[in-house]
Symmetry: C2
Subunit: 426 residues, 2 copies
Amino acid sequence: MNKFVDLDYVPKKEDLICEFSVEPSENLSMKEACNRIAKESSIGTWTHVEHLNKEKRDKLRARVYSIDGNTAKVAYPPELFEKTNVPGTLASIAGNIFGMKALKNLRLEDVYIPASIDNAFEGPRYGIKGIRDTFGIEERPLIGTIVKPKVGLSSEQHANIAFEAWKGGCDVVKDDENLVNQDFNKFEERLDLTLEKRKKAEEETSETKGYMPNVTAETEEMLKRAELVKEKGGRYMMIDIVTAGWSALQTLRKHGPDLRIHAHRAMHAALTKNKKHGISMLTIAKFARLIGVDQLHIGTAVGKMEGEPTDIWEIEQEVENKIVRKHEDDHVLAEDWRDIKPVFAVSSGGLHPGLVQPLMQLLGKNIIIQAGGGIHGHPDGTRAGARAMRQAIDARMKGIDVEEYAEDSEELKKALDLWGAGKTYK
Amino acid sequence: MNKFVDLDYVPKKEDLICEFSVEPSENLSMKEACNRIAKESSIGTWTHVEHLNKEKRDKLRARVYSIDGNTAKVAYPPELFEKTNVPGTLASIAGNIFGMKALKNLRLEDVYIPASIDNAFEGPRYGIKGIRDTFGIEERPLIGTIVKPKVGLSSEQHANIAFEAWKGGCDVVKDDENLVNQDFNKFEERLDLTLEKRKKAEEETSETKGYMPNVTAETEEMLKRAELVKEKGGRYMMIDIVTAGWSALQTLRKHGPDLRIHAHRAMHAALTKNKKHGISMLTIAKFARLIGVDQLHIGTAVGKMEGEPTDIWEIEQEVENKIVRKHEDDHVLAEDWRDIKPVFAVSSGGLHPGLVQPLMQLLGKNIIIQAGGGIHGHPDGTRAGARAMRQAIDARMKGIDVEEYAEDSEELKKALDLWGAGKTYK
């Protein structure tokens, strides 16, 4: 009866593979639960239906080829999918199955995307190297800030704070995830004023600076805003990939102007936080890389937001590397990214200069370190906060303990006095 | 310290209101947890930041005005939002807060949308009345089917099965959520062949019939497919609203052709199934109505998919009525829908003729009853399955018990023999 379970099946490299954590409802075996998942997410329904001959059924059905405790791996023949269609693909592998009564909990942990689908996407336009080249920064982490408070500032205040942050040492400044085109801070005015200040900051610091305006909106409006950014000399556009959705992200990458894409993940935790049910951040990150964001929030492991250090490390590996090897605890399917460029991982959420040392111990140098409150909340204001952050990063780049380095760095000293100094992420 | 908690605050009718279920992390009081939710989802961050004067802070901050057990209600001043921007609004009220370490679990249970936002949207183009007028069906539920198997059929097979379903008595036939534009069944060919069969079925039955092709894709491609449907004489477009996302749904309603929108909710349960964490289906349904889908899947309470009868009844009330009164168990915020038309609720997922009686007891006549396997899996095939379904509905409309009615209805009898007859939803 379990036609969709075939533990002898050896997945082909052309298959799309999903790893699920499965908790069957009472009185249902793991095997039967897995059978229903593979059935509902490929060609089956709950009762017998003629119409498809055996040959076609055998060709198109998903196969559960591994069951280990509560972990199941399912192989999907690539013919099941329209290669260029992420929302269409997710409607199969992450669609109705979450709502089946047969399951108490279901979590899509990971997905292996085969070459045929990879080849249908362009991936990031810039990726890590392109971003580093933009700024001429070869090795150190990029430093970013989010203008704070999140919303409420006028366009002019916004631009002035951005200037202070750049002047103090930030490379990039971004809008917050919920700042879009409010009456008190209209998108176009904010863009104009902030890009003006960017120019000034670049002239005064002789550094390249980036402004990441949030273009999240209805798709056509979003494209208009993105074009406006390009027209006015911007280098970046930022989008809330989860609230905007996969169709719009594909559109922005495919039909939007030649700008770097910064991906914020607000709302992801509604899907990712519960360890038994939903969709892992790793899965979201893989689809975001496939479509082609250049920068993606992956968490901090040390700040105000959820996320275990190992999970975040894994996501960084996944978005930044070419081939991810099978991980010991078996939670990462090996993925060969072929020509798809690496994504610059962004660590953001409750960070401050005192957390840079443990953060870089965990995630290395190839990250964008963003702090909002941890820069603007500095006792001497935004510019000093940005200096303190850059000093903390300089300390780590030179291999000097942050507190030692602070002895000669006034702004860093004050930041550590206020927020404390983390030594290690453990 | 809890500046965002103000239990004396009386929400203004202009405020947007969210009801959350909150489970604070250990060692954190409910009050402090709620304070952080309101802060992070409006103007605050985790540390003190100057930049905003008191007047503006008071004007723009969210206020927790009610805490009752684990339920909190938060009022958001409408100025916080760009009125026309659903993804931007969700990035506030359903964004970062899900990932805060301060919370073990958080669920957005309900949202009250104020007039200023309602007025920025057009809502459904047709709604229940427009759909009923299309078919000239005044009172009985509409009968629909999903062509099954979900994927794998050729375009020609697909069209033939649709014909059988229409001929047997279905009003509408839809693609499944994961059928888009696969190589074995290309969108345009399927559309052509199926609309041809629709015409034939209309001629032979003298009834109006509807075909709901799944246009889910990258947004520009989706619009192209929608235009193609319109051009070729279609009346409907179907979209997977959760996997495609809010930006694309807004685009389809605003810039898509004049077609009825059928909304499938695949992946919703990744957000809605856990009763402690995520986003309720009620909330998703409200935003879908606001943007303007004409038909929305709400569950069955009796079939293969998750969903408690009371929840599903509540969602039906919400999408179909003008004003929803505060519910006794306090889980529905009163919503005045003003000029926004009602959405036709679609009940789908594991239904068959034997479940029509309990389903209609629960949800009444104003529903679209869809069955896939429960029609095509009939021992005598699709046409007989559609007949059996229509007979079951006729029985209920005449107030005759389904088993009694089956005595003179051969197809219904066979269906009940195979799948059983439900008498009541309790």
